[in-house]
């Protein structure tokens, strides 16, 4: 079959080819238009001529099957694909603006900016992982932003879809990817752990906040393999004012063993959204790399290199949910809060990677001027934080798994829903008030949350003795 020519003005499956906007090693990018599609479009066409890198073909095949299955704000929309049998292409939404690579001359960037940036990327990764896809090439040039601020991930040619054949798995002896950003387990052929993307994001955050790449730029396999046993210099050594919470987060992302990193991208985003609540460990203060004795032990420890059974990405994500318990801490909530604690304990016992966020809403009056101090001069906000932590203490959770939040709002249900949305909460546990005057007057908070939340909601009621039927 004659291949259609790709040149300005040419037609392909209803698309009209515009200008070539990028000529990369593996593909060329063209602007295209299509009657009936109003968003700006881009067509990616792989280089498949004789003598081209066979990886270009395979990575295009992966992109061709993965991109049409992705949805949501954090990926470009897909509007059509073409097969190698005729003319291979992927037609997708053109995200305006530049990639994060354009910021490379501004490094290091301020910590607060890096925190916000990292949070957006982690949120996008969480959304991708939920769709059973691991990106495997997170680096500045794969990251763009919509005008509305959301991070958009691009370039899925090295990605792994946990429910589709991985054409890259057995194809090449050397791991494919971008050397400075590649997770250590990738060097051992592991392609099905979503925490590999968290490592790459850790590299990016380290680079953007210090101006240095944590593992250098070595492209040789030998140079890359060092990261299997050698940890990077702690950022504080490069920048003495480096915030401990940020070092804690970045070095956790860069842990050699995936199991020591954040369990999920959502949990990483949660830490970046609540830096004051990050549990600081010895990591946060370090100025030195691990002692040589540790490095040598690691080098000859086979733990990381032992073969693992194939992982199930969905199951791994499900084992590390963010659970919110919404509590009332007024007088008379004792029995209900006891039931809530029991429910939370049961949930957490089966989910060792879950984290718990205790939530209380400080209700603001609609018309009154609110004071931060109560009638005895105590700070209401702090009192409630103390009460939340007190409620959680019998759960005996590691501090890194527990946070407490007091929200101030006129409408408690809306505040809980907003917190759930922003923090990608997986499960809300809350109590239903029985026979309460407030409930009659204001409607049920639990009812509204259960009806409108995008996640699972467990509504807990204290056990009641049988009532005498009346009427």
């Amino acid at each position: 079959m004659v291949k259609p020519a790709i040149e300005p003005g040419a037609k392909l499956d209803g698309f009209t080819i515009g200008q070539c906007v990028h000529q990369g090693g593996m593909a060329t990018l063209w602007t295209v238009t299509h009657p009936g599609i109003t968003v700006p479009l881009l067509m990616k066409i792989p280089r498949v001529a004789e003598g081209e890198d066979p990886a270009a073909i395979v990575s295009f095949e992966m992109e061709q099957v993965i991109v049409p299955r992705l949805a949501g704000a954090h990926v470009p929309g897909c509007f059509g694909t073409g097969d190698f049998a005729r003319q291979p292409y992927v037609a997708m939404e053109r995200i305006p603006g530049k990639t994060l690579y354009s910021r490379i001359d501004d490094l290091p960037i301020p910590y607060e900016e890096a925190r916000v940036l990292g949070g957006k990327i982690a949120t996008a990764l969480a959304d991708l992982h939920r769709q059973n896809v691991i990106h495997h090439d997170i680096k500045p040039s794969s990251i763009m932003f919509r005008a509305s601020g959301e991070c958009v991930l691009i370039d899925f040619g090295l990605s792994h879809h946990n429910q589709l054949p991985d054409l890259l798995q057995e194809e090449f002896r050397l791991p494919y990817g971008t050397a400075p950003y590649m997770a250590p387990e990738r060097l051992l052929g592991v392609r099905d752990d979503p925490r590999s993307d968290l490592f790459s994001l850790g590299v990016l955050l380290y680079f953007f906040t210090t101006g240095e790449r944590p593992f250098g730029e070595s492209e040789t396999l030998r140079g890359m393999r060092r990261r299997l046993w050698r940890d990077p210099y702690p950022p504080r050594r490069l920048r003495p004012d480096y915030p401990p919470w940020l070092q804690e987060i970045v070095l956790r992302c860069l842990e050699i063993q995936p199991v020591w990193r954040h369990p999920t991208a959502s949990q990483l985003a949660f830490d970046l959204a609540h830096p004051e609540q990050v549990k600081l460990t010895a990591r946060s203060e370090r100025l030195q790399r691990d002692p040589l004795s540790t490095v040598w032990r690691r080098r000859f420890n086979r733990e990381l290199t032992l073969p693992k059974p194939k992982s199930d990405v969905a199951a791994q994500l499900a084992s590390g949910p963010i659970v919110v318990v919404a509590l009332d801490i007024e007088e008379g909530s004792g029995e209900l809060n006891e039931c809530l604690r029991r429910t939370a304990a049961q949930l957490l016992a089966t989910l060792p990677s879950a984290r718990l966020a205790c939530l209380n809403v400080l209700r603001l009056g609609r018309v009154t001027i609110d004071r931060t101090l109560d009638e005895y001069g105590n700070n209401k906000h702090i009192e409630r934080l103390v009460a939340l932590r007190h409620w959680a203490s019998p759960l005996e959770l590691d501090e890194g798994r527990l946070t407490a939040h007091v929200l101030e709002a006129i409408d408690p249900a809306s505040a809980i829903l907003e917190f759930t949305r922003v923090n990608q909460v997986d499960h809300i546990v809350m109590g239903a008030r029985q026979n309460s005057m407030l409930r009659t007057l204001l409607g049920s908070v639990a009812g509204k949350v259960a009806a409108e939340a995008a996640c699972t909601v467990t509504v807990v009621r204290p056990p009641r003795s049988a009532q005498v039927e009346t009427g």
């Binding site: 066979p54 073909i57 395979v58 095949e61 061709q64 099957v65 097969d83 190698f84 049998a85 291979p88 946990n162 429910q163 589709l164 054949p165 991985d166 054409l167 798995q169 057995e170 194809e171 194939k310």
Partner: protein, 246 residues
């Protein structure tokens, strides 16, 4: 066109009818049967009559080693399989035996090849256990997609133009696009005697337009199928393994 593809029905009436219902619900327009209609299970007459009716309506069928053994008593098999074949032979009438004897070893349709075991030596009944086995089958045919069964464990292999192989254990109900440019070997799970640890009946749907294959699993009344095996005096292991899916 949407094809429903069944392999290794093995005279399991409960499983086969559940799969046929599921295939109809998914809009199947045509049926392909990859052999081993009989053997192991206790309803060979029903299973065979159903397949014969489907073939009369335009379905494609190829022969499996158990079908072949009905007319070729010298074939070597394990004791339980052999006992089931002897029992089955006594149940089938002449038209049914003739139907089995006349089944082809392979059938090709468009760019697809249907075969029971694998394409390199279809009547040697070799198992596809590895990418090397799959490569041998793919290299033996010019079809771009081969469908087979025989091993009772679902798998999907592909070969790139550079002859590199990939293997994959399919996820149920997730369509996989069989990309042009590479060649594929789709190994189906068994309708009537799954052996991958999941007792649910297995079959596959192929959409020839979008070139998407979907591996499907269907729960069925395993207890009833096992009871039929026991009630007919067939080896009890053949009933037990249905419950375990192995």
């Amino acid at each position: 066109m949407r094809l429903a593809i069944f392999a290794d029905i093995h005279a399991n009436r409960q499983a086969f009818s559940a799969c046929l219902d599921a295939a109809r619900a998914r809009g199947a327009e045509r049926v392909v049967c990859l052999g081993d209609v009989v053997g192991y299970g206790a309803d060979p007459e029903w299973a065979l009559d159903t397949v014969m009716d489907l073939v009369a309506d335009g379905a494609i069928a190829v022969i499996g080693n158990h079908d072949h053994a009905i007319g070729t008593p010298l074939q070597t098999m394990n004791a339980a399989a052999q006992a089931a074949i002897e029992w089955t032979r006594g149940r089938l009438g002449a038209p049914q035996r003739r139907f089995l004897a006349e089944l082809p070893a392979t059938r090709q349709e468009d760019d697809r090849l249907y075969v029971h075991s694998e394409a390199s030596q279809p009547l040697q009944w070799r198992y596809v256990r590895s990418t090397a086995d799959a490569a041998r089958s793919i290299e033996a045919t010019d079809a771009s997609v081969t469908f087979c069964g025989h091993i009772h464990q679902p798998a999907l292999y592909s070969m790139s133009p550079a002859a590199k192989m990939t293997s994959f254990v399919p996820t149920s109900d997730v369509p996989v696009q069989l990309l042009g440019g590479r060649r594929w070997l789709a190994v189906l799970g068994s309708v009537g005697q799954p052996r991958d640890g999941n007792p649910a009946a297995a079959f596959a749907m192929l959409d020839t337009t979008s070139r998407e294959v979907t591996y499907c699993r269907v729960p069925y009344d395993v207890e009833a199928a096992a009871d039929r095996i026991r009630a007919n005096g067939l080896p009890t292991w053949l009933a037990d393994r249905l419950l375990l899916g192995k």
